[in-house]
Symmetry: C2
Subunit: 305 residues, 2 copies
């Protein structure tokens, strides 16, 4: 721990906990990960989990500010922070940070809300920090996707998040696979790349929308046009491909033509493949984009010494 830190960033989600020691330039010195998502914390002892995971870092450098983002700021988390309305960049989010009442060095990052033209709200919580980190100081207009159970797409203009949207793709895949007639036909994992691409292709070119297209996962199997071991891959491609079409229909093309994909999960790799198959350029963003975003927010809030 020779190198001095300027900030501890905590990305605390529903099922995962990740902490970063970050230096005064925003580089990550050290990372800790634990299966200590908010759902696993007993009796609301968030302080105990934080102490267990980063207590040694704080003992060595007691004055380090701590900034926490993700579902830890939801009603089920440590301290509920109201959504910050969009558009919002580091400055707006820094202004809406919430300090823990008993721990002045601990700051919570708000999620963002957006009311669409159609009056329907959307929300992100945790992703705003990753988006800011992925875009960094690059000016211009950037389109990003954050794959997950609920996939998020976002637009940032000169470091300000101006739009985002949530797609229930991952959850839909899960419930269809586990509980629907399609799932009963599926065998094995979703690791057949050709079947995945076939699903992508049908999402682009087939007639009708998703409710109709879903049934193809059944009939292609029924007619021996797709082996049962490939149906999960096909369905994954069909859903991710449909999401991409829906998202692109929501907006104009991004300035530089490349779409940022945040994360290095297997799911993120699927999105990269799907975007590439669609002829779109992909700009991978590091899994620790969250740490960079925490640094930018902390700096805007004047927390970096």
């Amino acid at each position: 721990m020779a190198r001095r830190a300027a900030l501890i960033g905590v990305d605390w989600g529903t099922t995962s906990f990740r902490a970063y020691r970050i230096d005064a330039e925003g580089s990550v010195i050290e990372t800790r990960e634990a299966p200590a998502g908010i759902l696993s914390v007993r009796d609301g002892d968030f302080a105990g989990v934080l102490e267990r995971e980063v207590g040694a870092w704080l003992a060595a450098e007691p004055d380090l500010p701590v900034i926490a983002s993700g579902m830890i700021t939801s009603r089920q988390g440590w301290l509920e922070v109201p959504y910050c309305p969009c558009p919002a960049g580091s400055a707006q989010i820094a202004g809406a940070l919430m300090r823990h009442p008993d721990r002045p060095g601990l700051h919570f990052v708000p999620g963002l809300s957006l009311i669409g033209d159609d009056g329907v709200p959307d929300v992100i919580r945790g992703e705003e920090t990753q988006i800011l980190g992925a875009v960094g100081d690059r000016p211009g207009r950037h389109l990003l996707v954050l794959p997950g159970t609920h996939s998020k797409w976002a637009l940032a203009l000169d470091g300000v998040i101006t739009w985002f949207a949530t797609f229930m793709t991952g959850e839909l895949f899960g419930v269809l696979r586990q509980h629907s007639i399609l799932g009963r036909l599926m065998q094995g994992e979703a690791d057949d790349h050709a079947a995945f691409e076939r699903g992508l292709g049908y999402a682009r070119t087939g007639r009708g929308g998703l409710l109709k297209r879903l049934f193809s996962a059944r009939t292609l199997g029924l007619f021996d046009l797709l082996p049962e071991s490939s149906i999960a891959s096909y369905l994954s491609g069909l859903l991710i491909g449909s999401e991409i079409e829906e998202a692109l229909a929501c907006l104009e093309a991004p300035d530089d033509g490349a779409i940022g994909v945040i994360g290095a999960s297997q799911l993120a790799w699927r999105y990269r493949a799907a975007l590439a198959a669609r002829g779109l350029r992909v700009r991978p963003a590091a899994d620790d984009a969250g740490a960079r975003g925490q640094f930018l927010i902390a700096r805007a809030a004047g927390l970096i010494g």
Copy 2:
């Protein structure tokens, strides 16, 4: 049983059994219903179930032909009958009837298959008979919808089924309600008409497609814009409305502008309300359209004395 019958029609589905005594003009004299769908039949004793349900009718008129349609002709049924390719009317279906090897008076109706322009197959089994019965002898072009777990839309031209498509709407509603984060927010039944219409409206006018729109069922609740007791109704409207948009996008307008809705289930009433809210005219078709279809097929096959 004074009035003489000309045919016994059996509509034998996955979870339901319905039999009709039908006269020489195609009118239903008597109906029997039982929760004796093919999934409930033990040890493949379909003959025993048929005897139990319609044995008295056959004892009184032993020479009556019997015609059975629905999932009874699937691999899980009594006798698997290969799909008859579309386009098909009573004549084609009559020509593809399969006689039981040991019971010459018992005939099974094939389902229909269709290969779309995009090479993807679709199938119906049982609905073909209901469609023919609903259209009857009316010439011209007719568009029909058969609500169900897997909703079917069909086009008939002068009594010939020329196109159909399957939409997984009902099953999707079920798995989302029972197993998704949306279901965890829902309270009560889907009986709020205003919320149902709100879902219909969002299906028509919102930006993005279904994967994006689904999330509105969560955020509207989160922002207290929709009570938890109304989310199920809203989701039902959103899904049925999306299905209607998808189906209409698949085809041109029907000749007479009215859409036939088969059945009198609560679900069928929802579809009627949804189509009416969309400004479309609805032509209700009786729940026993199947009996009429069985009569037309039997007559075309020369089974009616």
